[in-house]
């Protein structure tokens, strides 16, 4: 990381040098700003509380949640004219158990008015097989399958009296190979708002992730028949549910 920021500094200095050589009047170095992304976790309309909160699916099945982790990656912002900003090295592991992971900041975003936000729920296929990674993708984060290389994109664990066997819920959603690819890219609506990136503002997008949406949508999940999946076709069903509406933008803060 240090190396990278150093390299960046060098590049930045060169850029400055080169810019300085040009006619000053023509120079309009695009200002850059930051964007905070905050995620709240809900189950339906209730805030998620690990272990103690009890929730009910539309099928009337009760459940609790002990773990809720997932990867948000390859975040992109798009302006109305189609120009796009893609966060470099964009991998964020969000964990309900670790509040500081539920807010992160995109830096050096070119100033402008962005009208859409797109991100991947999961990790792109390349990084699944790219060897030893660091940061959010460090295998010590417990989101990497050792026996079948690849990241667990969403890890939801809990229990339900309706689940078979030991009543445990284990939903480890991952896999990048057809036909069981569970990488999903979503663009939740900004509801007409724009994200205004300016040099001296700190706008924020407040996202909501609804755990219940893993089990509702195109493939309603009945815990009595599906309570454990670690990749494969059942994970694809859950991923399709997630893509259909697990994330929504609650509101956009201008500053």
């Amino acid at each position: 990381m240090k190396f990278r920021s150093f390299t960046f500094l060098i590049i930045a200095s060169f850029t400055t040098l080169f810019s300085a050589c040009k006619d000053d009047a023509d120079v309009t170095t695009p200002a850059a700003g930051t964007l905070d992304i905050e995620v709240d976790h809900l189950v339906g309309s209730t805030p998620l509380t690990l272990n103690t909160g009890t929730y009910t699916t539309p099928l009337g099945q009760q459940f609790t949640v002990s773990t809720f982790n997932y990867y948000l990656s390859n975040i992109k912002l798009k302006k109305a004219d189609g120009t796009e900003y893609a966060e470099p090295e964009s991998y964020h592991l969000v964990k309900e158990s670790d509040a500081k992971t539920k807010m992160f900041t995109l830096t050096d975003v070119p100033a402008g008015d962005y009208t859409s936000l797109t991100f991947t729920l999961g990790v792109d296929s390349t990084r699944n097989v790219s060897g030893a990674q660091t940061g959010a993708l460090d295998p010590t984060n417990g989101m990497f399958w050792t026996w079948n290389s690849g990241y667990i994109y969403t890890k939801m664990e809990g229990s339900s009296p309706q689940a078979g066997g030991n009543k445990q819920l284990v939903f480890h959603i991952g896999g990048f190979k057809k036909p069981n690819n569970t990488i999903r890219t979503v663009s939740p609506s900004l509801n007409g708002a724009t994200i205004q990136i300016r040099k001296d503002r700190t706008p924020a997008v407040h996202l909501q992730a609804d755990v219940l949406k893993m089990f509702t949508g195109p493939n309603p999940v009945d815990f009595s028949t599906l309570s454990n999946t670690m990749g494969g076709s059942n994970s694809v069903k859950v991923a399709d549910n997630q893509a259909a509406g697990m994330f929504r933008v609650d509101h956009v803060h201008a500053n």
Partner: protein
């Protein structure tokens, strides 16, 4: 070639110095290169290029120490080297299946570790897809080393020597998982076996003379086994059902990874290099000798839905048609794939 000569000269020269130095108690480390850093003349381009993890002697030695360190297991008594022994090309002698912590047995035969730089998928089912993350499979497997990456890092960081050794290679700071995995690969990627008598024959080098029966065996192999045991690495890296069982309830093989019914009973085609050293054979170690393996292919196969097309014959049961003479020739040729330089290379041995 020129480089090798220069290295040898340097070795001889330094050995001379060493002898002199012994008298004055000074320690002179013998000069040597990290093994496996050049592509053998008869090999294809590697998958894991040296540029991905540039070999250095310090990092290689660190990787070697890790490979032979039993503290990488939960119980502290199983190292990578426990099931991957150099004298049998880093396979596990006399073990049908892997033998892990608390005397637990695995379900599959520990394969030879060799020429891993040329592999894109690992394990009998291809579940591991990068040489760097592959060790996480045996490390975390509850019947193999049963340890977590977090615990290993805790042990390494608390050790008397590892923090300094890692710092010398990767700079100061706590040892990270990436450093640990990259260091281990410095050793595993170096395990290049390319100096069997067959290799010398293929490269027209001295010591590469094959007898008439060995040459006939090579011809039979290329004709009748070469569609799977292809090329200079003697594998096409595919997964195939070679007629071992009618059903695969105990181990579905490749299907365990892909979930596809057409992959049930398919296992990785292993390389034949050093095959004479690595009994028992097959993913579950069921055959004790190469003769038994050949007998299986010629007359012991059983039908199943995913049996490989290569073995289907019209009007008779599946298999490969082999005469007794052809088997004798094949067995003779397979011996020429034994690489004694590899199994005796002191650079790859455990150094306490």
């Amino acid at each position: 070639m020129l480089r090798a000569v220069v290295v040898r000269l340097a070795l001889v020269g330094l050995a001379g110095l060493g002898l002199v130095a012994c008298a004055s108690e000074a320690e002179v480390a013998p000069a040597w290169d990290v093994p496996g850093t050049t592509v053998p003349g008869n090999f294809p381009a590697p998958v894991y290029a040296t540029s991905q993890n540039p070999p250095t002697r310090e990092a290689f030695e660190l990787g070697r120490t890790l490979f032979y360190d039993p503290r990488l297991s939960r119980t502290g008594d199983i190292s990578c080297g426990s099931c991957h022994q150099q004298f049998v090309a880093f396979a596990h002698q006399d073990h049908r299946v892997s033998h892990g912590v608390d005397n637990l047995l695995g379900t599959r035969n520990a394969p030879a570790l060799q020429n891993l730089r040329w592999r894109s998928e690992f394990l009998w089912d291809g579940g591991a897809k990068n040489l760097e993350t592959m060790p996480l499979a045996p490390i975390t497997n509850p019947v193999e080393m049963d340890e977590s990456l977090e615990n290993i890092l805790r042990k390494l960081n608390a050790d008397a020597r590892y923090p300094q050794q890692f710092a010398r290679v990767y700079g100061p700071g706590p040892i990270t998982s990436q450093q640990f995995l990259k260091a281990l690969v410095q050793f595993t990627a170096a395990l290049t076996s390319s100096n069997s008598r067959y290799d010398k024959y293929a490269r027209h080098e001295t010591g590469g003379e094959l007898s008439a029966t060995e040459l006939r065996g090579l011809t039979v192999l290329r004709q009748k086994c070469g569609s799977c045991h292809a090329g200079e690495l003697f594998t096409d890296e595919t997964y195939r059902n070679n007629g071992l069982d009618r059903t695969f309830a105990a181990d579905s093989g490749r299907a365990h990874i892909t979930g596809r019914p057409q992959d049930v009973g398919r296992f990785k085609v292993p390389s034949l290099r050093n095959v004479a050293l690595t009994p028992p054979y097959m993913h579950d170690g069921r055959f004790r000798t190469l003769r038994e393996v050949l007998d299986h292919y010629s007359g012991g196969m059983v039908e199943s839905g995913t049996l490989d097309q290569q073995f289907r014959r019209t009007g008779t049961s599946p298999g490969i048609s082999l005469t007794d003479d052809e088997k004798t020739d094949l067995l003779a040729f397979l011996q020429t794939l034994t690489d004694t330089e590899f199994i005796q290379d002191q650079r790859l041995a455990e150094h306490r």
